[in-house]
């Protein structure tokens, strides 16, 4: 049985928090740069130009791309043959977040109680989704999530009779309601099926998928393309100030569901769609 120590996990999480907030993934960066070339709205083009310049400054001067360095969201896959020694895994991940957000000069944006609202001052606790998988590796994926776009996310418990048309309407409604608030151009993560929380988790996970890769399921890939086209006809544009680049991608994940239901979750993400993964 393979063994890893939580010190190694803490070190990796620390680095990943910093890396994710300074550099966008190659696919995201390319999508924004391409949009700048193809945008026809005047203000829209100007805003995309600022976003490109912003990515450069973030990289060179090591300043976070966005001041909302997010709540630290993790998707963790634990190989069932892996043994973790040291401390509790959740505590280790939170320790990595604490170190990363402090040492990396990232913003501490978490309040300990949603109503009393006192800042925890180290950006913990993280939100961690665990998955047990075959093998002896540990896969860590961090997606720091800003709340300008998170606040514009929606869940719809549709009826089976609403079908594909109902799903499309729900997604378009969420994007249109979000308008300028979600910092367009956005990436739209959609979860269809499962139950109430499964749909929401899939929608968040969908945001971490490469924006250039469609769903492997042909009927879903068609829907992703059709929705992207429709969203980019709304005219919302970069910054919500008019243009064709309202979304850079629509990523949909699906799961089995109940005979009586059709849950649809739409997780909006701004153009600062950050995610970094490592396998230990």
């Amino acid at each position: 049985m393979r063994t890893i120590h939580t010190d190694e996990i803490i070190k990796n999480v620390r680095e990943m928090c910093i890396e994710a907030n300074l550099h966008l993934s190659g696919d995201m960066e390319e999508a924004i740069r391409t949009a700048k070339e193809t945008e026809t709205g005047q203000l829209g083009r100007q805003i995309l130009g600022q976003l490109c310049e912003n990515m450069e400054i973030a990289k060179i001067d090591e300043i976070p791309i966005c001041q909302d360095t997010g709540m630290a969201i993790f998707f963790v896959k634990i190989g069932q043959d892996l043994h973790i020694e040291g401390m509790n895994l959740t505590d280790a991940i939170n320790e990595g977040v604490r170190q990363g957000y402090t040492d990396g000069y990232l913003r501490k944006s978490v309040v300990g109680d949603p109503l009393l609202r006192e800042n925890t001052k180290d950006n913990t606790p993280a939100i961690i989704h665990y998955d047990i998988v075959p093998g002896d590796r540990l896969e860590l994926l961090i997606a720091p999530k800003g709340f300008g776009s998170e606040n514009m996310s929606r869940i719809f418990m549709l009826k089976p009779a609403d079908g594909e048309e109902g799903v499309k309407e729900a997604v378009l409604q969420a994007v249109s309601d979000a308008g300028p608030n979600a910092c367009p151009p956005v990436v739209v993560g959609v979860g269809i099926g499962g139950d109430f929380e499964k749909a929401a988790i899939m929608a968040k996970k969908a945001l971490t998928r490469n924006v250039k890769e469609g769903s492997p399921l042909p009927h879903i890939r068609r829907m992703e393309q059709e929705l992207l086209e429709k969203i980019n006809q709304t005219g919302i544009g970069p910054g919500g100030l008019g243009g064709r680049t309202t979304a850079l991608a629509v990523n949909i994940e699906t799961y089995a569901t109940h005979i009586a239901g059709l849950p649809v979750a739409v997780n909006m993400c701004c153009h600062v769609n950050r995610h970094v993964s490592r396998i230990i």
């Binding site: 912003n54 090591e62 913003r107 606040n151 608030n181 005219g235 100030l241 153009h271």
Partner: protein, 185 residues
Amino acid sequence: MEKKIQAPFKKEELVSLKAGDYVYITGTIYSARDAAHKRMYESMLKGEKIPLELKDNVIYYLGPTPAKEGQVIGSAGPTTSSRMDKYTPLLLEHGLNGMIGKGKRSREVIDSIVKNKAVYFAAVGGAGALLSKCIRKSEVIAYEDLGTEAVRRMEVENFPVIVVIDSEGNNLYETAVEEFKNSQK
């Protein structure tokens, strides 16, 4: 139209700013977001003094990342303005002239902007590294315990913003999207 303006500015100056203008602000502005707004609002309702002079001034809805050594401020882009809507009309009644944020405002805020002759600017959301370069000085002047949400006095130079709601109530978020759609027909 591209314009330059010195902050703080008077009502007579801001009425020339029109929705859609691309404006570079130079001068003194203040940062305040959710928690600072709540505190100022509650103090004002009790008739207490608040830590910044609202008359003629501009508030930037901002909670920056911490500055590293040698930096004036960390990443410093706008946050969503609508969360401040509850508090804004009272601030406008007390002479606040400008707000910098991003996203839609409520009907009440728009009506108050027109009534009090003020202006609402958007900065580009998610361009915090770029915008930080326009901030030359930054000093926490109140509510230090709020951390990133503390009130800061900042000196800015050519800080780029777009007039979204002007003192007549014209709203660029509505007109720009319609105009773009019509231009595609």
